[in-house]
């Protein structure tokens, strides 16, 4: 595979960083259906990767394998030096280091915003309650909704809920954040407020894998774009390379359909 100069430059800089996530030949079957076919990729520290691909291409399946919401059948997944196996201690460790944001927010409706955020730090990270609450306040400020702490999720708008979900994931002080179409369930006017928070996070040096259909976000923020189809990684490259001179036909077809 030939790569253009810009990609070479970026790749060289990245090569000096530590590997955060390593996937090697990851296979995933649902019954007889193979959803992931030998997916291999390495994500470096502080790298922002956007995953693109048509519906059903296995994007969600892949990132859900990274924190064991789905179990892969063969291949290796190593997160921050810890390999995902059936050992529950490794799973627990990885889950507390990998934050995840879902398309449907999945906030806990019976807990206030503050309790949503402090639950895991208190019970998983064993933080004293006062400390966890101070952290929650700080995070809510960071995502721009400090005044909503005592409300229940059902009383917030979609955009606010998604920002709470981001704050909840950040409260675990994760080293990696996974986003699975975080803006797809939002009305257009709320998308920006969530993307702003994510951009902010990227600038702050968080390692991120983002599945999204927001091309503007991909172009502006991504260090690298991974294009998937039918459970395979078809093409990888910088946004510039990807949007201006894609090599694979399938990528071109995909881009012609969405742009």
């Amino acid at each position: 595979m030939s790569i253009n100069d810009a990609t070479v430059a970026v790749t060289e800089e990245l090569a000096t960083r530590d590997d955060m996530i390593i996937c090697e030949g990851v296979d995933k079957w649902y019954g007889d259906f193979q959803a992931l076919k030998g997916v291999s990729a390495t994500i470096k520290e502080r790298e922002v990767v956007v995953v693109l691909g048509p519906s059903g291409s296995g994007k969600s399946t892949w990132i859900r394998c990274i924190n064991r919401l789905e179990q892969h059948q063969s291949g290796r997944i190593i997160v921050d030096g810890v390999e995902l196996t059936n050992d529950t201690r490794n799973i627990e460790k990885i889950r507390s280091e990998v934050g995840m944001v879902f398309q449907q927010f999945n906030l806990f409706p019976h807990l206030t915003v503050r309790d949503n955020i402090t639950l895991a730090p208190i019970w998983v990270r064993k933080k004293p309650r006062g400390e966890a609450e101070a952290l929650a306040t700080q995070l809510l400020e960071r995502v721009g909704i400090p005044e909503q702490a005592d409300k229940f999720p059902g009383q917030l708008s979609g955009g606010q809920q998604q920002r709470v979900a981001i704050a909840r994931a950040l409260a675990m002080e994760p080293r990696v954040m996974l986003f699975d179409e975080p803006t797809s369930a939002l009305d257009p006017e709320m998308i920006k407020e969530v993307l702003d928070v994510m951009k902010d996070l990227a600038r702050g040096g968080m390692t991120m894998i983002v599945v999204t259909h927001e091309m503007g976000f991909a172009r502006e923020v991504a260090d690298r774009i991974i294009f998937m189809e039918s459970g395979e990684i078809v093409e990888t490259g910088t946004p510039e390379h990807f949007f201006t001179s894609p090599e694979e036909d399938r990528t071109k077809l995909f881009l012609s359909q969405i742009l």
Binding site: L69, S96, N106, F108, H110, R142, I145, Q155, L156, D200
Partner: protein, 675 residues
């Protein structure tokens, strides 16, 4: 890091502008709309709804009239209920120990009062509702005054006066035979009782009429004195209002002549009998305790209100819940047992055992929660459980003798040890588990010691006092134990592990496939066969276990319904945050699942409460049995069933209705923040 722009525009403010409400309809229009099909639609439709309304109104009035006729009939002997109130509620609980019952009731009232005081105050009762309520009862009373048949007249000997078919009065001669007033013999056919004239009847009920009219008057005053808006928006606080109502009722014992009806035994002669004294004040032994109970309730309520909003309110609520949890046990022991301790034995056996388990267990918990203990902890916990299991197996085969208390203590120790991994961490966390353990084992040992000690209280049946009290206790204990069991079963049935699923399914289907009454008989006969040697269950304990197991199976299905309503995303979010399975279940899945299942759960609780009346059939002296078997067999009231049966109907209804109301309130309170 710069923060993203604030975006308060999209804040969803909770209803800033209140919804414009429909104005209340004037009474005539209301009737037209609600009773006669609203005057809309075709003539046929109106005629149909009107005739339905008329038919059902007539039926209702007829039933009401018959009920009143029965309640107020001279032939209905309410003395059978009045005299037997104590019997109905507590069976023949010894008079000299009655203070135990009052103390227990007082304890429950303290908990209730404080709880009510701490409760989130709703809007209260609107004046409109009070007006509706007054008018409803007022109309009912006035209707009753006019509907009830005139009373039967009675002669000096207390028997009803009779008349022949033409209405000519009859009397009884010296031999008791029926004759005309002039002495000629009366016919034996076509006789009827003589009733007072309708006018006399109404005037003799003028007191009732006045009450009804006053109620309607109050309603009218509220309706017309307040405008439509104020009627809706003026609220009276519900709880103080109810307490005031109870107070008013209790105050009548001080000034109204309810009459004094007792069953008593003459100390000197040893003869016992019923005393009927109408038109005097109730006995002091009724009035004084109830007055004290009321004061206790009020004081507790005021205390609760004072505590609201204090910094330590949360802790206090926790304490209150613990109190409610312990109250059934504490009161049960207080009522049933006046232990006569053999102090030497207590010092030689009970105390050392408690110390051994308390200190040893505390040390074990401390060790098991050491950070980095890892697998060793789990192995140790399982080991303790294995020891416990072994002591039980040994008991079945009679290998070696051992105090039952020790076996149970080992079991508790093993179960608590299993919790240990959740408390690994700093000293504070580790100490929590140590406290939990010492608390549990202390409570258990105190109770076990009391239960193993002979009691000085002599109750007529070996089990427990009977009557309504036994119904209440069986209900409470059943709910207390079947609820956790049901939740566990539901979790097992939805578990990922097939063995749990299988066991839970078999259990649930087995218990749901057998009628409760069959199970009660089964348990009274068979349960002792399943117990280790030397251990025997009293009848009441056996049936309570049957109730627990039965009710748990139903609760499990209700809870399972709720658990299934919890969305997948909730599990995924919990997992992604790194919560353990136990934490996920306890903090996320159960709170959401149980909330959904509140209505069926309360339905099950009410069903259990009513089903306790089946106890009568398996030989427990419960509420129903008192009314159906015991009272009608008293020489004074031979065959007198109806009054007591009607009475227990009312009491059962009040209890069930209260539970149902409470659940509505609970649903509303918990509904906050639901999607």
């Amino acid at each position: 890091m710069e923060s993203t722009p604030l975006d308060t525009q999209t804040t969803v403010e909770s209803d800033v502008a209140t919804r414009p409400e429909e104005a209340s309809l004037p009474p005539l229009e209301w009737m037209q709309r609600n009773l006669f099909g609203g005057g809309q639609g075709s003539v046929g439709a109106v005629a149909r709804s009107t005739s339905l309304t008329v038919v059902f109104t007539l039926l209702g009035l007829f039933a009401y009239q018959q009920l009143l006729n029965f309640i107020f009939s001279e032939e209905t002997n309410w003395n059978s209920v009045r005299v037997n109130l104590r019997l109905l509620f507590t069976q023949a609980y010894p008079e000299s120990d009655y203070h135990r019952i009052w103390v227990s009731l007082g304890l429950v009232l303290v908990l209730s009062g404080v709880g009510l005081g701490l409760m989130k105050v709703g809007r209260g009762i609107s004046m409109k509702k009070i007006a509706t309520w007054c008018v409803g009862w007022g109309v009912l009373v006035v209707l009753g005054v006019f509907l009830r048949q005139p009373s039967v007249l009675v002669g000096d000997d207390g028997t009803p006066l009779l008349a022949d078919a033409d209405g000519v009065a009859l009397a009884r001669d010296g031999l008791g035979a029926l004759v005309y007033l002039d002495g000629s013999p009366a016919p034996s056919q076509g006789l009827s009782v003589v009733r007072e004239s309708y006018g006399d009847a109404i005037s003799s009920r003028s007191g009732w009429l006045l009450i009804g009219l006053v109620l309607i008057g109050i309603a009218a005053a509220i309706w017309f004195g307040f405008g439509d808006k104020r009627r809706r928006s003026t609220f009276l606080p519900a709880i103080p209002l109810s307490i005031a109502g109870i107070g008013a009722l209790i105050s009548t014992t001080w000034w109204y002549n309810w009459g004094n009806y007792t069953f008593s035994t003459d100390e000197e002669t040893g003869v016992s009998g019923f005393n009927f004294e109408p038109s005097v004040k109730v006995a002091e032994t009724t009035r004084n305790p109830w007055t004290i109970m009321f004061v206790v309730l009020v004081v507790a309520y005021v205390l609760g209100r004072r505590l609201r909003g204090r910094a330590f309110e949360q802790h206090f609520r926790g304490l209150l819940i613990l109190g409610w949890f312990l109250a059934p046990f504490v009161t049960f022991f207080a009522i049933l047992r006046g232990p006569e301790f053999d102090w030497a034995y207590v010092a030689a056996v009970d105390l050392p055992l408690w110390l051994a388990f308390g200190i040893g267990g505390a040390a074990l918990m401390w060790a098991l929660t050491k950070p980095g203990i890892g697998e060793v902890g789990r192995v140790l916990a399982v080991l303790v459980l294995a020891i416990a299991a072994f002591t039980w197996i040994a008991a079945f085969f009679g290998w070696f003798g051992m105090l039952q208390k020790v076996r149970l203590s080992f079991l508790l120790l093993g179960l608590t040890a299993l919790l240990a991994p959740n408390f690994i961490g700093e000293a504070r966390q580790r100490l929590t588990l140590v406290y939990v353990w010492t608390g549990t084992i202390t409570i258990f040992h105190v109770m076990a010691t009391i239960i193993n000690t002979p009691s000085s209280i002599e109750v007529p049946t070996e089990d427990f006092a009977g009557g309504f009290m036994v119904s209440i206790y069986v209900t409470v204990f059943t709910l207390l134990f079947s609820f956790p069991l049901g939740v566990l079963l539901a979790l097992a049935r939805t578990s990922r592990l097939p063995i749990f699923r299988l066991l839970a399914t078999v259990y649930i289907e087995a218990f749901r496939g057998v009628p409760l009454i069959t199970m009660l008989f089964f348990f009274t006969v068979f349960v002792n066969l399943f117990l280790p040697e030397g251990m025997e269950l009293a009848l009441l304990a056996a049936v309570t276990i049957a109730f627990v197991l039965f009710s748990a199976a139903y609760l499990a299905e209700n809870v399972r319904g709720g658990l299934q309503a919890v969305r997948r995303g909730q599990y995924e979010a919990s997992d992604a945050l790194g919560l353990t399975t136990v934490q996920r279940t306890g903090f996320i899945v159960l709170p959401q699942g149980l909330r959904v299942s509140i209505p069926p759960l309360v339905g099950q609780a009410i069903a259990t409460y009513k089903e306790t009346s089946l106890l009568a059939i398996v030989g427990v002296f419960d509420f129903l049995r008192m009314a159906r078997d015991i009272i009608p067999n008293q020489p004074e009231f031979l065959g007198e069933r109806k009054p007591a049966l009607l009475f227990i109907c009312v009491i059962y209804f009040v209890g069930a209705y209260a539970m149902s109301k409470y659940s509505q309130r609970l649903e509303k309170n918990l509904g906050v923040g639901e999607r």
